[in-house]
């Protein structure tokens, strides 16, 4: 095999779109250059019109909701009368659910901090940039890491009786197991789909699943003393 050239040179000649272009693309060139030529439209009016239309439809929907459903208002704030349960806004109920199992310094400080830091650093780690299926490379090593991580985390949640978070974890782990024993050549389409997913996809999907489950449980299924209740029973 011959050594690949260090650069690509070319001349563009679509005179209707732009003047003549001379271009050198080296292998060190940033990712922006890898854009291919494709049909573009003017932002004004075509893009802006669509954005305006989308916002109008949303506004109409919100107006309709506001006409038919009133925002809640309870009695005046009374520091001497604690409601049971006292619930945070819905988007914090996942954390409040964790607060039920772990001390505040873990559920209220450590977990949110780790979450925010984890979100911020996503694009700065190559493991989140690569798009290959999790088990398609270094299969044996990755499979053992997966076993240890999934088992360790499940035992941890089980030990602290966090079944609400354990069940979604086990479900995602089961799907990862299916992915581990599938390949891009599997006969079923869904198995090919699972096999193609990188590790970042799995972690984010697990996080999203936990977020939805914990928020729904906190919003609808928690009553006095943070006990289980059924939302349809008064």
């Amino acid at each position: 095999m011959t050594e690949p050239k260090d650069f690509v040179a070319g001349v563009g000649s679509d005179i209707r779109k732009s003047q003549k272009r001379v271009l050198f693309v080296t292998r060190r060139t940033s990712a922006q250059v890898k854009v291919s030529d494709e049909e573009q439209v003017q932002t004004f009016p075509e893009g802006l019109l669509r954005i305006a239309l989308a916002i109008e439809i949303l506004a109409i929907a919100l107006v309709l909701i506001s006409l038919f459903f009133n925002a809640p208002l309870e009695g005046i704030a009374d520091p001497t009368n604690t409601p049971n349960p006292a619930k945070a806004p819905w988007y914090f109920l996942g954390l409040q659910e964790m607060l039920h199992y772990f001390p505040p310094v873990v559920a209220g400080v450590l977990i949110p901090t780790v979450l925010v830091v984890a979100l911020v650093v996503i694009p700065y780690f190559n493991v989140n940039i690569e798009a290959d299926g999790l088990f398609l490379k270094n299969r044996r090593r990755r499979l053992s890491i997966f076993y240890v991580a999934a088992l360790g985390f499940s035992l941890f949640l089980w030990f602290f009786d966090v079944y609400v978070a354990l069940v979604p974890t086990l479900i995602v782990a089961a799907f990862m197991l299916i992915a581990a024993f599938s390949s891009p050549h599997s006969s079923s389409r869904s198995r090919r789909y699972l096999a193609s997913k990188p590790v970042s996809w799995w972690v984010m999907t697990w996080f999203l699943f936990e977020l939805i489950v914990l928020t729904i449980v906190g919003t609808f299924f928690r009553g006095p003393g943070w006990s289980w209740v059924l939302p349809w029973r008064g």
């Binding site: 271009l23 854009v35 030529d37 989308a54 919100l62 006409l67 505040p104 400080v109």
Partner: protein, 269 residues
């Protein structure tokens, strides 16, 4: 834009006053349309052209635009609500009651503000996950992802500070639950809580602080970061396109990656 020469709008566009405001001229050529974006302080955050397939619903689900839409609604309804609201105890609660029984359409105003706020939190989360699953956070868009996370936090804080303002039981105890958590922060937790509430518990000082945060500081921060967020879309090469999704499969792609002049400049860096 209609083509008729005699329309009122066309005549208006040709007036000296209009042209002093909008310098991009009156034509509908590509150049004029590009200038309409480029020469406008607000619109120049966008690029003048956008890939056609990125305008389809499938590409983005319009989640970013819709989030911005809820923010617009919240600013407008929020300003109107401020006209009827005193951030003091117990007047705040009486004002919110008055919205229901005294102010014309007051209840509708409050409903729209509240449901739009919930919608905004939901849409911000949806936008984040959508961007993640499309892989649009990848270089060179890393920093815009970080700005997005900051905007998520600002949105949550906006919603959280607004939650206290009605000064009812729901508001008071939700904020009490939340602020108790902050005292669990090691070393400076209690101090942070004192700073946030202006006291050792949720009281009139806390209401005033949350009001200032909710109506001044956080919205200003949001506007600033939203502007950077949208401007960075253009600077990072436009809305993210998946390389695995060819634009039109029937058309052969050029061997040399075609770019416009800006991208050549970036490549030379």
């Amino acid at each position: 834009m209609p083509d008729g020469k005699g329309g009122y709008f066309e005549r208006l566009e040709r007036t000296r006053v209009w042209r002093s405001v909008f310098r991009s001229g009156t034509g509908s050529s590509t150049l004029h349309r590009a200038l309409a974006i480029q020469q406008n302080l607000f619109l120049h955050l966008f690029s003048t052209k956008v890939r056609r397939r990125m305008l389809g619903f499938r590409a983005t689900w319009y989640l970013g635009a819709l989030t911005l839409g809820t923010f617009f609604i919240l600013v407008i309804t929020g300003i109107l609500l401020m006209l009827y609201y005193h951030p003091s105890v117990p007047q705040a609660y009486a004002d919110v009651k008055d919205l229901k029984f005294v102010v014309s359409s007051g209840m509708f105003l409050r409903n729209l503000h509240r449901w739009s706020a919930h919608a905004m939190v939901l849409l911000v989360f949806a936008h984040m996950f959508r961007v993640f699953y499309r892989g649009a956070y990848r270089p060179p868009r890393e920093f815009n992802w970080v700005i997005g996370v900051i905007l998520l936090l600002i949105t949550l804080l906006l919603s959280y500070t607004g939650y206290l303002l009605p000064w009812d039981q729901l508001a008071f105890w939700a904020i009490t639950v939340g602020s108790n958590i902050s005292s669990a922060v090691p070393v400076f937790g209690d101090k942070a809580r004192f700073l946030m509430l202006g006291g050792h518990q949720v009281n009139a000082n806390a209401l005033l602080r949350f009001y200032v945060l909710h109506c001044v500081i956080l919205p200003l921060a949001a506007v600033l970061f939203v502007a950077v967020h949208m401007w960075r879309i253009r600077k990072d090469g436009g809305l993210y396109v998946r390389q695995s999704e060819p634009a039109r499969e029937s058309e052969p792609q050029p061997e040399v990656p075609a770019t416009d002049n800006k991208e050549v400049l970036v490549g030379k860096r």
